[in-house]
Symmetry: D4
């Protein structure tokens, strides 16, 4: 076939506040490597999500500066230059349990790649409220809280009841049985009794980072 | 038809620890009245759940001592004699929001009919943790906690993390959209990260009371 | 019963950035009227959602200053004083079709009650892209875009690809058949190919308003 | 067993406008090879879908002219002779993202095997409307548009709003979490706000090709 | 509110081959009447679907030429002028059982409003194959077959195996229990073993008519 | 429209062993009356299921010999002549609770209309095994057992483990919450650990009767 | 642990008409081998379903006469002696496509093990009605028809409309996408418009054989 | 990252009656080994659930006293000291079939680790009631009955109807087809017709043990 298999979008930062990112899942290693190479050639940076080891090997063969993190599944080249004023903000990346860390790291490392300061609050789930209450003041100091949880997904409700900043909830597929691949956490977050909690897709750490980026850029713009 | 349309079970207290109760939904008022009358004639007590006003009218026409509570949907005649020693125990009937009160009352009034001491803790949902923390000591003094919640159903997890006694979670259909008639709360309770929380059917305040009755009778038996 | 059936939370503005709001559905008119009266007595303002005409009549009998809007189902008393600096921001409340207007009005009028400036962009669904493209510049001028759609719920993806500000997607139950009460729109929004779109519950215009309020307050704070 | 395990249908072109095609999934390589050999012996052509490498090896051992394409999973022998007049028509095979290309290729290569002229428009999803708008005139020149998309599946609605020809939507299982194996895209396409979009099964590139073949044959017949 | 609640699209015939149609469900009678009046004023024709009697009364009060059919739920004003050459084509509107007739009539009468010749084949479901086989020749003479069925929705598969023209399947919500509001028929049609059957939403007789219109216009264009 | 809205099938007894029966739901009273009248005129018997009172009134106006039973929703005219030898067989119609009696009566009265001898065993659910064990010998004497249950639908498994004859399980929508309109009972019956239990649709008492009729006719034929 | 891990049931033929059969899935090879050996020692016959190759190896090491068929997953030792008179009956084992043959063979070989005469009718699905119509007379000669189909599962409806004997429908998981592991076929069979079709679990060829055995034994008994 | 990836909770016995237990699934072997080592160092005991062989190897490398049971997936170090008086109680761990034994063993061995006396009653499912009736007296002697079943999950209803003590039902994913990974058993247990049966998550043997521990500690406390 002579038609292009991918049409890259180099103007997304202006239009959406975040550059185009490559979803590796379902692409062949060769397709992924070609796309990452083209992004790198054009802008000296690239980010791919949901990559496995073979993806990483193919990419690194053609883009030696690419780094790969197996826990998060991220391939990163360079980084995004944040707007000036971004350094005044910090995002709290919270998760309920250690098993949520792959999703939390996808989120945290995407934010780091985007030049955004983060702080991790891991393993503060509601089975022991004291863990969250112990860091409550730090959470209140964040500009945005991203709250990642599997199983019943109760942490965003509980945490969202304690802070006034934007709260982005990320359900994870951690659990079994009636978790149904994250549905229990997803539904719990969508039906939260705490007003103003918003939700992204199951296991979508990247999407939460992108949403936080939109919010932070609006805060930076408001201050300028 | 000459065959019986109902076969009443008068030995259930001995076998299951709780007498047979009549599920009014789907029965005609006349069927319900006949069954309640037969129970009353036999043992001077009866309990019917999920009754609406027409059910109540038919029952009260033939059993004048029957009382009806529209909020809980219960029709009650007489009461069950609890085993001696039951008065040492108290059940905490907790609910997250005022909208859960029909289910909570079905539970609370069933327990009262069974001669069990209760205490209501209503509207202590996780949108404001302070409300639950304020009554935490009283909850710890209960022999069993029944925790009723709709929406994301997070209260049993949070409360269950603060008490050591048996916790029975009751999801309710309170909510809309992704609540799906109580599924969000049900799944949340089944996948709770707090060990040892057990669950009954959506809106099943009666079932939670029956489960508490089993537990309390075992506690009474253990002490005798 | 002597225990309280409702425990009102008068400190929520400080803690969550938004006062406690009353979810009328499932409450009796009398319960609702009592709660609204108590809020009004305490702070001279109240907001109730999902109220029907009987709710409104009961409330207005005890709180004559309460207004009721049947389309949105909102009962409003007074209004919230926004933080200074809020007037610099405007929220775009967008919906795909005229049938989405009950949800859109719940959202818009909640924001108005909270002292937030809004602009309505109704009936700009993707069946005719020209309608959205015609107002694209106005959408880019908003601080937050709330995008409400039923059926396949494609508008948040399409619109979110054209603006850099935060985008809050609200699925509605408008549709039939495979809409399944809003599931098609909900799933479509959760799986949007546009990064950074966040989602609230089906038909939850109020929740979107509360989320926007969190974001705007953070923008105001960033600028001060 | 002496009974036949397969009963081949050699008259389907006359009856349905398309010959019988072999669904490889669930068949043993030996079964598949026997069926393809019989079709080839009879009509000098065969098409098998959903074949994996072992299927292909077995087929090629007995039918050396069979070709195999791993991306689409198609095994092809010979080709179908289209009705005269078919060359006046062209099908636009569109997909939203590169990850949809296995389904798109199953569709495109089936059409090519059936002697139908196609044009590929890949990676034109709604995250960047400009990509689709840039090829809009070419899409309008097609006799049929097949639109393949995963995730929220919004492309058929958006594209269907811009062309007057028949639009066949193919949901794919590309995505994760609330994609639920393609359900989000399927429901989105079924509930499209654009009238006249029809839908085939998830990942069913072959079925879309067969539907387009029915439509094109009717167009050819109308012109003769 | 000063913003428009509806933005009418008067160029749709050129762009999509069918004028904008009004989905009455969820609109107030007053909203519907205003929209229908505006369409009538502009183009002397209008079509509204899913209208109930109060909708019809409001519309007829302002547009006296509007007709209303309670079975199909259609409000019609004037009619669409079909392209010349359309009279050479006929659509077979088939349904499995008499209970499917509301959906079938929505489809048939929409086609009639669009100036398309139809023939009804009702009550030819697979419980008695002889009924369909008896009209097989007439079905083969149609340019497009629309096949409407509830319950297990088998008719499109069976009929689609006997004709070579385009087949549009419409699942209906006729049935009970495991029909689940039309899901059984919908899934059956999506997974049909007959290649080239396309599907629209449950009970979407209108959508099937619009799809047929797209196909017929392409046939007319091919012949000119 | 001039085409027939119904095509009656007068040869079904020969082909399927049971005459055509009219599914009233979704038909207008006038449609139903016309169909029943035509059947009565032709064969002096008719059976309609799922009829409500208005259906019955319309039918009885034109067919005075029609009887209507509100509990089962059946309209009956005349009866079917069973094959000679049928009187040697008896069907046990069992149900778990009194609330299942509408479904049980649809089944029992259909069998009676078909000239088949039945015996009712109602309210023998597993909450008290003694009720079923008490009638076990009578159940073993039946030629076919039809077992009707809602809630968890356990009775067919338990009863099916005690008898060797064919067991037809009928799930009912009796229950609430996680019953989901009969899904819990349906799934329970489909996954029964007792081999050889077959299942019909939720609330489908009629279908169970028709299945029993097929089996009994085969038994009668075997004996002749 | 000293308690037994299995309690074998050697009286099932008398009670249920079929001996206990071992469900291999989820058992270790050692557990399976021990159970099969015990059955063989007691009655010189055994049947295990859903066995994989490792199961078979373990069983054959301790019971050398055991045979294993990989397609059906059955392990068989000896066979069941049918009641005298069984040889007058024949079961038609039908399936829609070649991909259904694993389920069909589980059914057919179970019946053969039980001493029941069968005839296979494979690949007679509704995509080409002529295949089924060609064998219609043979199907009418069977005492029971078992009809196995995946995808939309239409064959039991179509075939059930042509025969008067008992019809047992078996949905299979053959298909993809909206097949959802057999749900489409299952729902289609449960909602069949043909009265008297009964259904067993997805892929449950064994269960269909057991159901047929119950029916045939009743026929044999009727004749004696 | 410098923040902790796990925050261990050493006070849970006091607060919840059971120490923190490690959910191995989703954790790396290294993460698990570190957590188990820290628990062992602190309290000389640890329990991990859902561990596979690589988890076990990593743990045993750093904590040599750790034992691993592959059937249950448990890693155990030391054991919990039960409150005095616990030895008066015994838990009946019942399961329906041998295939349920992994879940049953997770439950049984957790209880043993917690110093609680148990008795196993395996393979007593309802396909043969005699097996359960034979041990009924022993079941009545237990303080708590845990009832584990897959497929239709009927055993808790049947058993719960025969004992008066608390009954904890555990659905398992044993089965196939309409079992849907345990949903059939889960729904069956939630909708049980026997009052007072409570339910935990699918395959959650550990959760049932924790719930029993809460009940037993309350019984011990009641007696002291």
């Amino acid at each position: 076939m002579n038609e292009p298999f991918a049409r890259l979008d180099h103007d997304r930062v202006a239009r959406q506040g975040f550059p185009e990112v490559v979803f590796a899942s379902g692409k062949t290693p060769a397709q992924l490597a070609a796309i990452v190479a083209e992004f790198t050639a054009r802008s000296n940076r690239a980010l791919a999500t949901r990559a496995h080891a073979e993806h990483a090997a193919a990419v690194q063969a053609s883009v030696p500066t690419a780094s790969y993190d197996a826990l998060s599944g991220l391939i990163r080249v360079g980084r995004l230059e944040p707007p000036s004023g971004m350094s005044r903000h910090r995002v709290a990346v919270c998760c309920a349990g250690t098993s949520d860390s792959p999703v939390a790291e996808e989120c945290a490392q995407t934010l780091e790649w985007a030049g955004i300061d983060i702080r991790r609050f891991y393993d503060i789930g509601v089975a022991n409220l004291d863990r969250m209450l112990a860091v409550e003041d730090e959470l209140r100091a964040a500009s945005v809280c991203i709250v990642i949880a599997g199983m019943e997904g109760a942490l965003p409700s509980v945490l969202g009841g304690r802070v006034a900043c934007p709260v982005i909830a990320v359900p994870t597929s951690v659990g079994y049985g009636a978790n149904f691949g994250g549905i229990s956490a997803l539904l719990g977050m969508l039906t939260s009794c705490v007003p103003g909690v918003t939700v992204v897709n199951i296991d979508n750490g990247f999407g939460a980072a992108a949403a936080a980026n939109r919010m932070l850029r609006a805060m930076v713009a408001a201050a300028s």
